[in-house]
C-alpha cells in the first residue's frame, strides 16, 4: 500500500455535512518511486483531518475503557450481546450501570460510537465513490444479519449486530451529500479501518456469547492495529504531513528505515504478549519486580507453582497461576528491555543523523520518553498488585507507543533515502537540500 497519494490525487474537499470543504493548503511533495522522486500535488482538508483525529482519540479512549474492563475482570459482567440484560443496549437504564456492568456497558456504547465515526470517516474520505460500495455492503450485512439467527440460534446476537451496523452503513451510503474523494492511500486505510471496526465489534460480542476467553487476546491485539490505521489516516490528512514532505531529506546512514519498523514490530509482539497475560485472567503471575519470586529465575516446577497459588490471597477472583504464565511474564520483561534499548538506539541515531531540531529526531525522543513511561507503568502494575487504573494506563501507553512507532516509520520512509538509492558515492551524509527532492517538480 503506498504511503502517500499517487500523482494527481487530492485529499478530500467539496461540501461535507454542510461544512464547506476548505482547501487550506496546496503543496507539492516528493514520493520515492523506483529510486527517483516524483512530485505529487496534495491538499489538506482541515475538517476531515480534525474528524480523523477525533476518531483516533475516541478509539484510544475505547482502548482505555476496554483495558479497564479487563483490569476490573468485568468482561462477562453483561452476559448477553448485543442486548444488555435483555434491554436494547441504548435504552439500558442508567440506574443499573453498577459494578462491572458499568465498565462493560460503557465500553459497548463507546464502541458503537466509534463504529459510527469510522463509517462516517470511510464515507467522507471515499467521497462519491464510496456510495455504491457502502450501499452494497450495508444491504448484504443487513440481509445476512437477518438470516444468521435462522441458521444458528446461538449466533442470534451476531446477526442482530450485523443487521444494525448494516443499516448504519446503508444509510451512510444513501443519504450523505456528495463530496470529492480523498487520496487513494487514505481511502484504502479508511476501508481497512471500516473492516477492522466491524471485525472488532463481532469479536467482542462473540467473546461474550460464546464464553470464549481467548478471543479477548485477538480483540485486544486488533484494537492496537485499528488505532494505528486511524492514526495513519489522521497523519495523511494533516497539513503538517504535507509541510513535512517539503522540509528536507537525508540519506539513511543509520539504517533507521530498518530499525524503526523492526522495533515497532517488536512493540506489537510485546502488546500481544501483554494481551495474552491479561486474558489468562490469572492476576499477577509474578507478584514482585525486578526479581521474580525473590529470585532472578523463579522455580517453575509443579510443587512451586502450587505453592505460589496457595500463598496468594486474591480479593478478586483469578485463575490459578501456571508455569506457562510465569514464562510469559518473564518473556514480557525481557522484551521490554529489548524495546527500551531499541528505541533508545533509534532516538540516538536519529538525533545524530538529522540533528536535534529535526521533527523526526524530536518525535523519536518523545517516543523514547513514552517507552520510559511504559516501563515505569509496567513495574508499577506489579508494585501496585495490578491496580486497575495503573494496569489500564499501561495498556493505553502501550497503544500510544505502537502508534508512535508506526507513524515514525512512515515519517522515516518519507524523509530518509536508502543509501543504495542511486546516490553518488560523494553525496553528503546527513540532511539533503530540499531542492534535491524537488528536482522533478513541474
Amino acid at each position: 500500500m503506498p504511503l502517500a497519494p499517487s500523482e494527481g490525487e487530492r485529499v478530500a474537499g467539496g461540501r461535507v455535512m454542510g461544512i464547506p470543504g476548505q482547501f487550506i493548503n496546496a503543496a507539492y511533495f516528493a514520493q520515492l518511486k523506483n529510486g527517483s522522486f516524483q512530485m505529487v500535488e496534495a491538499r489538506s482538508n482541515r475538517w476531515l483531518n480534525w474528524f480523523a483525529v477525533f476518531t483516533a482519540v475516541a478509539t484510544l479512549a475505547l482502548i482505555a475503557l476496554g483495558g479497564l474492563v479487563t483490569s476490573k475482570e468485568a468482561g462477562m459482567a453483561v452476559p448477553d450481546w448485543p442486548t444488555t440484560y435483555g434491554y436494547n443496549m441504548f435504552l439500558f437504564p442508567i440506574s443499573k450501570w453498577v459494578g462491572g456492568i458499568f465498565y462493560e456497558h460503557t465500553h459497548r456504547l463507546l464502541a458503537s460510537f466509534v463504529g459510527i465515526l469510522v463509517v462516517a470517516l470511510t464515507r467522507w474520505v471515499g467521497g462519491r465513490s464510496a456510495c455504491k460500495p457502502l450501499v452494497i455492503i450495508g444491504a448484504i450485512e443487513t440481509l445476512v444479519g437477518f438470516v444468521i439467527p435462522h441458521v444458528s440460534p446461538q449466533l442470534t446476537g451476531a446477526g442482530y449486530f450485523l443487521s444494525g451496523i448494516g443499516v448504519v452503513v446503508l444509510l451512510a451510503g444513501i443519504f450523505w451529500v456528495q463530496n470529492e474523494p480523498a487520496s487513494h492511500s487514505v481511502r484504502n486505510f479508511a476501508w481497512l479501518a471500516f473492516v477492522l471496526v466491524q471485525v472488532q465489534g463481532l469479536m467482542g460480542g462473540l467473546r461474550v456469547v460464546l464464553i470464549w476467553d481467548k478471543a479477548g487476546i485477538f480483540h485486544a491485539a486488533l484494537a492496537q492495529l485499528f488505532l494505528v490505521v486511524l492514526c495513519i489516516i489522521a497523519l495523511f490528512t494533516s497539513r503538517w504531513w504535507l509541510d513535512f514532505a517539503k522540509s528536507s531529506g537525508a540519506t539513511d546512514r543509520g539504517c533507521l528505515r530498518l530499525w524503526l519498523p523492526l522495533v515497532t514490530l517488536l512493540i506489537f509482539c510485546q502488546l500481544i504478549l501483554g494481551a495474552t497475560m491479561r486474558h489468562e485472567h490469572a492476576g499477577l503471575a509474578i507478584p514482585d519486580f525486578p526479581l521474580a519470586y525473590h529470585k532472578i529465575w523463579p522455580d517453575m516446577d509443579t510443587a512451586s507453582v502450587e505453592g505460589y497459588n496457595q500463598r496468594r490471597l486474591e480479593t478478586q477472583e483469578a485463575n490459578p497461576i501456571t508455569a506457562f504464565q510465569i514464562r510469559l511474564q518473564l518473556a514480557h520483561r525481557f522484551a521490554a528491555l529489548l524495546i527500551f534499548a531499541g528505541v533508545a538506539w533509534c532516538a540516538r541515531a536519529t538525533r545524530r543523523q538529522m540533528g536535534a531540531g529535526h521533527p523526526l529526531a524530536r518525535f523519536t525522543l518523545a517516543w523514547f520518553a513514552l517507552i520510559g513511561l511504559q516501563v515505569l507503568l509496567g513495574a508499577s502494575t506489579i508494585w501496585s498488585n495490578k491496580a486497575s487504573d495503573v494496569a489500564t494506563a499501561h495498556v493505553v501507553v502501550g497503544a500510544l507507543s505502537l502508534s508512535a512507532g508506526a507513524l515514525l516509520t512512515i515519517l522515516a520512509y518519507r524523509v530518509l533515502i536508502p543509501v543504495a538509492a542511486n546516490l553518488p558515492a560523494s553525496a553528503p551524509v546527513g540532511v539533503l537540500p530540499a531542492r534535491r527532492i524537488g528536482q522533478n517538480a513541474k
Binding site: A74, G99, E306, L313
Partner: protein, 236 residues
C-alpha cells in the same frame, strides 16, 4: 415385561445390608500456623450490597474456629467412584445474599441439582467456569435479577469448580463435584461427618483451597471411625 420378585428383593436386601454394615467417618480438620489476616472487601460504591452488612465483609480464605478448627475443607472418600446418586439427592442451594455467595465452599455429587438464586435487590451475573473436560459444556453466564433462580448440574467430578459474579468482582464460590455420596465440607469448628461409608479400607482426601491437600488411610467397620487431621499454612 414380567418382573421376578427376586429381582426387587435382592437389591433391596443388599442396599439394606450395606447400610447396616456401613460406618461413619467423622473428625476435625485443624490449621497449624498463623494464617494471613483477611482483607476487607470494599463495597462502598455498592449501596445495595453494603446496606445488608452491619460489619465490614472480609475475605474467607482461612476461617478458623476457636480450637484451630478450619472451615470450608472438603473431605472426600477418594477410592469410591462411580457411585453417584446425584439425580435423587436433595438439591444444593447456592444463594447470592449481601453480594456474597452462600455457601462459599460446597460439594455436590455428579448430576446433583444446584439451585442458584439471587436474594439481593441488585443484578448479578452467574458465571459458571468449569475446568474439567467432562464439564466444559456446562460453562454458563446468566443474568439474574432479585428473586430469580435456575438449576444447574455437572456430569463429571471436579475440585473447586468456580462460580463467580463479574458485576461484583469479589463474589465467588467453589463447588467440588464428586461422583459418589461419600464426602463432606467442614463446618465452623472444622468438624465433618461422612455417613454410611461401605466397610473396608479407604483413602480420604482432605483439601482446602489455600492450605492444600493431604490424604489419610482409614478403615471403616460397623460404627464410627474418627479421622482428625491438620493442614498447614503454606510457608512464605
Amino acid at each position: 415385561m414380567k418382573i421376578n420378585s427376586w429381582q426387587l428383593i435382592v437389591p433391596a436386601l443388599a442396599a439394606g445390608l450395606q447400610t447396616v454394615l456401613a460406618g461413619d467417618i467423622t473428625g476435625t480438620i485443624t490449621l497449624n500456623g498463623t494464617p494471613p489476616e483477611p482483607a476487607i472487601i470494599d463495597m462502598a460504591n455498592f449501596a445495595a450490597c453494603s446496606a445488608q452488612h452491619a460489619e465490614p465483609v472480609k475475605t474467607m480464605f482461612y476461617v478458623v474456629g476457636p480450637n484451630k478448627g478450619l472451615k470450608d475443607v472438603v473431605v472426600v472418600v477418594k477410592d469410591i467412584t462411580g457411585k453417584s446418586a446425584g439425580a435423587s439427592a436433595e438439591p444444593l442451594v447456592l444463594d447470592q445474599k449481601g453480594c456474597e455467595y452462600i455457601p462459599y465452599v460446597s460439594a455436590v455429587q455428579t448430576g446433583q441439582k444446584i439451585v442458584i438464586k439471587n436474594s439481593d435487590p441488585t443484578l448479578h451475573n452467574v458465571h459458571i467456569m468449569p475446568a474439567a473436560e467432562g464439564n466444559s459444556s456446562r460453562a454458563k453466564n446468566l443474568a439474574q435479577s432479585q428473586g430469580d433462580s435456575f438449576d444447574w448440574s455437572f456430569p463429571a467430578p471436579e475440585e473447586f469448580l468456580k462460580i463467580k459474579c463479574d458485576v461484583h468482582a469479589w463474589m465467588f464460590s467453589y463447588v467440588t463435584v464428586v461422583d459418589s455420596p461419600y464426602f463432606a465440607v467442614t463446618g465452623k469448628d472444622g468438624s465433618f461427618k461422612i455417613a454410611n461409608v461401605p466397610p473396608g479400607k479407604h483413602t480420604i482426601e482432605i483439601m482446602h483451597r489455600k492450605a492444600g491437600k493431604i490424604t489419610k488411610d482409614v478403615e471403616v467397620a460397623d460404627g464410627s471411625v474418627t479421622v482428625d487431621a491438620a493442614l498447614e499454612v503454606p510457608a512464605k
